[in-house]
Symmetry: D2
Subunit: 256 residues, 4 copies
């Protein structure tokens, strides 16, 4: 289930966030159970000097997964660019999950600031993976300025509402060439499967796993869900019909 992101093969189509985990032990188990190859971390959640929170970096290292710094908590392009640059130094990666939040209550992205920050970071050599709204026009503009993927929200972060607007996700899939990663909103396995069936290349989620009653079981569920959705997308599903279509035709019925 490899896919390519910024020219790099990523071994799983499930990307995990680390926020919301009860502790590092559970998080490590969940990361391993999920089969993920890419984990996103907010700069401020990490003590890069090796203190307690620094344990998160060791953990990621130990799990052999790639680190994707994010700019969670930034509300302007300027802030996000600065956090991205700090993260580049701290983590020695020019990949960034770009978040520029528009509103505390919804945590939905601010498209105008996001596009501005994306342009600046692309120009500065970053591999930019923007967390965006599900607006197909904004997604195309982000791709046009050189983002390596677009990451539309299914629904607000932590809401567990799933994919609120499947139609927009399909439109985004049609309007860009870069990978589409459904980011935010996933609540349960069928949401993740659906996102993949809509044509997404991957799914990013955090709370759905970290805040589940049993994070490790949910991580496994999400692993299978993403694989099943991708397989189903490629397997060519049957069309929807208003009436039935007998799976067993009447020919050869025994006389009674």
């Amino acid at each position: 289930m490899t896919f390519e992101l910024g020219g790099v093969p990523i071994p799983s189509r499930l990307v995990l966030g680390t926020g919301g985990a009860a502790n590092l032990t559970v998080l490590e188990e969940a990361i391993r159970a999920s089969g993920t190859g890419l984990v996103t971390v907010a700069l401020r959640r990490v003590d890069t000097t090796g203190g307690a929170a620094g344990g998160l970096l060791d953990l990621i290292d130990r799990c052999g997964v790639r680190l994707l710094p994010n700019t969670a908590g930034c509300y302007t392009a300027g802030e996000a660019v600065k956090v991205a640059q700090l993260a580049r130094e701290a983590f020695e990666t020019d990949w960034v999950k770009l978040e520029v939040i528009g509103d505390e209550r919804t945590l939905l992205p601010d498209g105008v600031e996001l596009l501005r920050a994306a342009e600046e970071l692309v120009a500065d050599g970053f591999t930019v993976l923007p967390y965006t709204s599900d607006d197909p026009i904004l997604a195309r503009r982000l791709a046009d300025v050189g983002c390596a993927a677009v990451m539309p929200a299914g629904a607000p972060i932590g809401s567990g509402l799933g994919v609120s607007n499947p139609h927009h996700i399909r439109l985004i899939r049609q309007s860009v060439e870069v990978p589409v990663i459904l980011d935010a909103g996933i609540g349960t396995a069928s949401d993740a499967a659906l996102a993949m069936e809509l044509g997404c290349d991957a799914v990013l989620l955090a709370s759905a796993v970290t805040r589940a009653a049993d994070p490790v079981a949910m991580a496994t569920a999400m692993r299978y869900a993403v694989e099943s959705g991708r397989l189903a997308y490629r397997a060519g599903r049957i069309p929807r019909r208003f009436h039935a279509l007998a799976s067993t035709p009447d020919d050869g019925r025994p006389e009674l």
Copy 2:
């Protein structure tokens, strides 16, 4: 992912129908890919004298899965009871997937005839697994007369519409003690995952796999979908929220 049906452990929560398969080779590959342990076959689809169609029985035998005869194509209780009895002799099993169809166009079950046939077959020693509508009251009555499970339709056979009424499936799950197997209507992986998340014990499908463009890939998708849905159901999903919940709280943000 074992579950128990009629006192027997079944090694997978995915039950497959055989109708609609292009040929036996593809069907065998799909059965193996699905990981199923229980396969349903219409009596009339099988030449029990060992002719061409008899190959289906050899195939099922070879795959090491349990055979579940069904009464597809019966429109009255009387017919269904006779077919069940013939099937018992032919296949040496007293298990029967009981279908009493009410209408050619929808292939939905006729509840009155179904209940009558179920009572008769239970009295005759069968392990009765009725294909029923998603009516919670009828489901409870079927359980009350001794059926070993209830198998509500998600949507008409072959329609690929998924689970049209999740609310009714939940109500059925609450109203009976026996296993609930979602039977009919599944179109793609997320439908199967959703059925399991609603509390179903298993999913039965045929066309979604046999008529997919790539049946083997879809069989694998369904295998993972059912597992993911079951795991998610048990893992305790996060609640749905109208607003966001930050996965990464603001504490410890670096000063910029």
Copy 3:
């Protein structure tokens, strides 16, 4: 917006239940605001000797609407038949809204008992209007035994969930010739409009109006909703499209 029921023209496609009203004054205002021509009343809610509860009959009389007795609270065919017969005497009408409930928690109908009661009452000369599940096969059987309409539940009584399974309502509309009246489940105006757009001939509701914060305003809302849904159904809606269709084509754009 007249429609015909049991050979009688009914002046509105909105049928009202009386249960749940705070008092008779509000109920009267709501009945008048709704424009209904048919009101259903449980036998036991009426003191036919002219006591306090008897005020309900006076009210209905005063409003000039037709009374439709119902058999609410009956759990067997026998009970329902008896209540129907008592109601015929008490109210001097052979119309009956036939309810045979299967379960206290869902108040969904028991199809087997319902069909039995319907047959008996039709034979006894009643105009039978059965409250049924949304099972298309059962609906057709009820029509086949001579019911004057079928009244499928959109969702459980008082649940406000709307039309849980629009597909089944469409299938019912296709499978019977008699009027289809969506009965139970309506929560708000758009639910009633949708029911009419699915092809229903009328909508019956009680709690949505009687338990609304402002019953009279909601009664008016429902009156308009039912009319709008019926008009839209007949007006021939535009097809759904995946992409846009410009309402204003580009021809004749001014040069800038």
Copy 4:
């Protein structure tokens, strides 16, 4: 059903577009049947010199409704500003429905250009009514720069898909003080009622009426739908319940 827009009372919560009408006679009948008080027209659809197309202006005048020029077909802020200015001269109104389209296939708005044009037009003294996406953050930014309302798309223009993301419409309603007018996507009456129930102050639609098989009947349907949705929104609907709530409690049931 008056509401206020830019300080002016508008006598109906249904706003009509004129695109897609077969001819002016039908359009006039539809406008009258709809009860609308505000009609939007693309500058380029009007021959302001009094030629054939100029008939549209006479018609609007004759119907006594207010004219709202729009900038349909503009793809940049610059273009839209110029068209708005031309329209101001031609129609002697500083009201403008601001459209800046991002994509021919979806006709969805380009948020970045839209915001730019809105700022410029507000500064130039226009009453700006922007057609926007259903992005709550963008809607708030449009309100913040002084737009007199926000007009989120329910779905792409002419798609008839209704309100694809009710959650976003609710979030928009919470995030701005100015009127919210659902614009684009409406297919049928229940869509319009739902939009109003989500808290919208008005609904704007064109194709749903002009391209319906019977535009005049559909215009009437929409008139009632908008009224019913608004009334229901204010009447305080019953809560949704998983189980039933008897409208007729068991007290006082007759002994049988």
